[in-house]
């Protein structure tokens, strides 16, 4: 699949229909997930209605980690096999990942205010998530500071790979430090600890976030490739 799509022409053909389909899937899942989460799922016996923030917070947290892992893979491919498409993929995923991380941070703060009585607490999970957000920003800043695209791609890929170290720290920070934040309840040894009535909407929303990411990625990669083509055509014309 990856090597099949590595050809830009084939990717353009694929993304031309895949992009809209992903977006449509995201729309359908949101259409199901949002009412399910906001209206039909039960309120928490402790937290009451505020628990509904979870349906945004948790998918955003998962996918901000997932997108970084995806960027790590794409960076490796870009570095080792010098696939420009992999570079574009990593570059285009980064702003989406940064946004998800930002959504996680903001929704977490909003959630924290009523439940923990504070907007922000410097515990391991929250701090390491903030660190991930800053790594995203650093990655984007490095990209935008280097004018030569090809070199920017390689350098940013090195940074991205180095930054992978942070992922396990975010993931396991809750277990290492005793913290305010929830430990993992879904992906943990011994099965999920979330009530099925909440698991349904949560997984639906997670799927919606995934397709939102995939669709946005397709569109922004297409734009990037088009922009590149236009630029090179313009330059070739100006030289002729």
């Amino acid at each position: 699949m990856f090597s099949y799509l590595a050809n830009p022409a084939r990717f353009m053909a694929f993304s031309a229909w895949a992009g809209p389909i992903f977006m449509a899937a995201a729309a359908v899942l949101f259409a199901v997930g949002i009412p399910w989460a906001l209206i039909y799922s039960p309120a928490d016996y402790q937290q009451g209605e505020t628990v509904r923030i979870m349906y945004v917070h948790v998918p955003a947290a998962w996918w901000s980690l997932g997108i970084y892992a995806f960027m790590g893979g794409a960076s490796l491919v870009g570095l080792v096999w010098r696939h420009s498409l992999a570079d574009v993929a990593a570059r285009c995923a980064a702003p989406i990942g940064a946004t998800f991380a930002g959504v996680c941070l903001i929704s977490g703060s909003l959630w924290g205010a009523p439940t923990w009585g504070t907007w922000w607490e410097w515990d391991g999970r929250l701090t390491s998530m903030l660190v991930l957000f800053i790594i995203y920003l650093g990655y984007l800043a490095l990209w935008s500071a280097i004018e030569d695209e090809e070199r920017a791609a390689r350098l940013a890929a090195i940074l991205c790979l180095v930054g992978l170290i942070n992922l396990p720290i975010v993931k396991f920070s809750v277990d290492w430090w005793s913290t305010l934040h929830q430990p993992a309840s879904l992906f943990r040894a011994g099965g999920s600890a979330i009530d099925p009535s909440m698991l349904g909407p949560l997984l639906t929303m997670a799927g919606a976030f995934f397709f939102l990411f995939a669709g946005l990625l397709m569109f922004s990669m297409r734009t990037a490739i088009f922009r590149r083509r236009v630029e090179s055509a313009r330059l070739r014309a100006s030289q002729a």
Binding site: D148, E231, S232, L235, R236, Q239
Partner: protein, 205 residues
């Protein structure tokens, strides 16, 4: 090569269908040529036609868009070449002599420091920090690397820039001696710098 006699090995350099581009600009297309041991090749061409880019591609600094550069008789190209580019590679705070000592260590050679200073006429400046050297003196210092470590292939980018008449004569002698010892010198120049070129390569014509 001064003091170290003719090279034991012979190398040759073959460039095959090279295409070079910078940004979106295509500087060379399907460039092919071959250089035998003992040759001095002049690279000519107007400003911005790609002489520097070609030299940097041969030196391994710049990745060509297409084509190959083949070194024959050499295992690791980067250990068989010297590159003296537009930039001299000097640190203002370090003295002339400490530059030579550093380069000798970097290139893994010993003992030619005083000879190199002598050959390039920098004996009087040996203890000055590079920062206060004049333009031509800085260029001479960069050129000492050629004497310091014997290497088969010299890539010289306007090596005579800033040199006075005497400095140009020294450089011409160095190149002639190098080529008659079996080395190769490629120099990008705007005007002949002395030795009769084995061949003249014109880029971007």
């Amino acid at each position: 090569m001064s003091g170290s006699g003719p090279f034991q090995d012979k190398m040759s350099l073959r460039v095959e269908q090279l295409s070079l581009s910078r940004g979106e600009r295509l500087l060379a297309r399907d460039l092919s040529f071959e250089v035998q041991a003992g040759s001095y090749v002049e690279i000519r061409g107007g400003n911005g036609t790609g002489k520097t880019t070609l030299l940097r591609a041969i030196g391994g600094y710049f990745r060509p868009r297409e084509g190959r550069i083949v070194f024959e008789g050499v295992e690791e190209p980067s250990l068989a070449l010297h590159y003296v580019g537009h930039l001299n590679g000097l640190k203002g705070g370090a003295s002339v002599r400490s530059h030579l000592r550093y380069w000798a260590g970097l290139f893994g050679v010993v003992g030619e420091e005083e000879n190199a200073l002598q050959r390039l006429g920098l004996r009087a400046q040996a203890d000055l920090p590079a920062r206060v050297l004049s333009q031509g003196q800085s260029r001479r210092l960069a050129l000492t690397r050629l004497v310091l470590a014997p290497r088969l292939l010299w890539l010289l980018d306007e090596p005579a820039a800033g040199l006075d008449a005497q400095g140009k004569a020294m450089l011409a002698d160095l190149i002639s001696a190098h080529c008659s010892a079996g080395g190769i010198a490629l120099a990008a120049v705007h005007e002949p710098i002395g030795p009769t070129p084995t061949r003249v390569l014109t880029v971007g014509a």
